[in-house]
């Protein structure tokens, strides 16, 4: 118990995670694994593990070991709170110790919400539709792209990433002027209907339809839309915890800014 709550283990976990994340960052740009990494974004974690991950055992092993590092860090955090931080705060009664404990609680909360966001909810990524087209998928989901309004130059949609960074500017591609109109339903019950723009998703009861981009004109000259349907029940809590963690760290910094006379 003492070892599991120790700072030595914290340091080992942090070091392990840093090395492992660095390795992952390297793998993510490896030509043979680049697409496999992208595929992780198309699914919730368990769907990915049960499906596409099977084709890339190296990536799956990396991911599982990453989760193990994070799980040990989380266990260390919880035990450290129980055996050291809370007792210390309670004994001393000083605000700096309570703030330190609170910052750790909030970090743990962000970790849990992050994990939940990757595993719970619904996600359907990589939907490319032409106006009038409908797509249906598991558990009665149905999305129809009713129309696309695109006032910018369609040639902009054929640029590669580097060219797009230069030519898709605020003048040539105004955010408000280009959008799609969609209708989302589940089991024939309408869930959401309306306009979805770049960086302006359609959100209804926690389910969001996001426009990730426009598809270049097809043979008939019609411009399509790339869409994602997603919803995670803990997203608001994740961001709430994030804000609280940042405020907690800033408060901790303010309360402990002056060094105590013993230098500790």
């Amino acid at each position: 118990m003492k070892r599991l709550a120790s700072l030595e283990l914290t340091l080992i976990c942090l070091g392990g995670l840093v090395v492992w994340l660095g390795l992952g960052a390297g793998l993510a740009v490896t030509p043979s694994l680049k697409n496999a990494f992208m595929a992780m974004n198309h699914h919730l974690v368990f769907q990915w593990l049960a499906g596409p991950a099977q084709a890339t055992p190296l990536l799956m092993a990396w991911f599982i070991i990453l989760c193990l590092w994070a799980a040990v860090l989380f266990l260390n955090l919880v035990l450290c709170l129980i055996t050291r931080l809370f007792p210390q705060a309670s004994r001393s009664g000083k605000s700096r110790w309570w703030l330190l404990a609170a910052a750790h609680v909030l970090f743990g909360m962000v970790m849990i919400c992050h994990a939940a966001g990757l595993t719970l909810g619904d996600k359907k990524d990589g939907l490319t539709l032409q106006p009038g087209q409908t797509v249906e998928w598991g558990q009665g989901w149905r999305l129809q792209l009713q129309r696309v309004e695109f006032t910018s130059d369609p040639a902009l949609l054929k640029l590669n990433y580097r060219q797009a960074r230069k030519r898709l500017n605020r003048e040539s591609f105004p955010l408000d002027a280009n959008f799609a109109v969609v209708e989302l339903s589940r089991n024939d019950q309408p869930l959401a209907k309306g306009r979805v723009g770049m960086l302006a998703p359609l959100v209804q009861d926690g389910t969001r339809v996001t426009l990730t981009g426009f598809a270049p004109p097809d043979a008939g000259g019609k411009i399509g839309a790339r869409l994602v349907v997603s919803g995670s029940p803990l997203t608001p809590l994740f961001f709430g915890g994030y804000v609280a963690l940042i405020l907690g760290l800033l408060t901790l910094a303010a309360f402990t800014w002056r060094r105590r006379s013993n230098g500790s």
Binding site: T10, L14, N41, F173, V228, S230, T235, Y242, I246
Partner: protein, 245 residues
């Protein structure tokens, strides 16, 4: 020669002169020159923001200007004997940061359409601000090894700015997550950018979690305290040099 070219050249010369004078212990003149150098950076920042119609965000010139200005402001507005000892370090670091931007034209960078989105702006801007704070923290940790009489004060200063920089870095990451949510439908994306961001934050946590045995070793503690600033700066430079922006 544009106004931005002039302010850039003036900032370079002022930082170099301040560094030389502070190193020669001509403190009074050196300190005034250092303040002037930071003021010139502030002027360049305002001109660039005005010309770009947004805050400086990305690319070697825009990022390094913001980072140097932030580190400079931390130096100028910090009080105490230990803070003054850091001035030559900050002047030297700012000189190096500005030299990184030397090959780039001194004009506003890309006007990417995403830069009109407040969460995108906050992501990039907070990251540069955090980098400035982390660089200042790293300098304090390094300087603590060369100033025996101010070692504890400088280490504590490094700790404070490391904590502050970590909080600001997280603020940027949160804005980035919200941007990703509204752009790609998820607050987390598996890819190099998100993995490196998490790596950067976790590296900042090393210095706060040193067991007593390791914390009592000044060199190790200073190296781990300086690590996040060096790491984030290195990764930022590497990415921007690779992208040619």
């Amino acid at each position: 020669m544009s106004l931005l070219d002039l302010t850039y050249a003036a900032a370079l010369i002022a930082h170099l002169a301040a560094l030389v004078l502070l190193a020669l212990t001509k403190d009074r003149l050196g300190q005034w020159l250092f303040r002037a150098a930071v003021a010139v950076l502030a002027v360049a920042f305002v001109i660039l923001s005005w010309q770009a119609r947004r805050l400086p965000l990305y690319g070697l010139w825009e990022s390094m200007l913001t980072v140097a200005l932030m580190a400079g402001l931390c130096g100028v507005f910090s009080r105490g004997v230990d803070a003054k000892r850091l001035w030559p370090w900050v002047a030297g670091a700012n000189l190096v940061l500005l030299l990184f931007a030397l090959p780039r034209p001194k004009v506003p960078g890309l006007d990417y359409y995403m830069y009109s989105y407040p969460w995108t702006v906050c992501f990039f801007f907070f990251r540069d601000l955090a980098l400035g704070l982390l660089v200042y923290a790293a300098l304090a940790f390094w300087a603590s090894l060369f100033n025996q009489d101010q070692r504890q004060a400088l280490s504590w200063r490094g700790r404070n700015f490391l904590l502050l920089g970590s909080a600001v870095f997280l603020a940027g990451e949160m804005c980035g997550s919200y941007w990703a949510l509204n752009w790609m439908g998820d607050f987390w994306l598996w890819g190099r950018g998100f993995l490196l961001s998490t790596l950067m934050f976790l590296s900042a946590m090393f210095a706060f979690h040193l067991p007593a045995g390791l914390a009592s070793r000044p060199r190790l503690a200073a190296a781990l305290g300086a690590l996040p600033g060096m790491l984030v700066l290195g990764l930022t430079l590497w990415q921007q040099v690779a992208e040619g922006v």
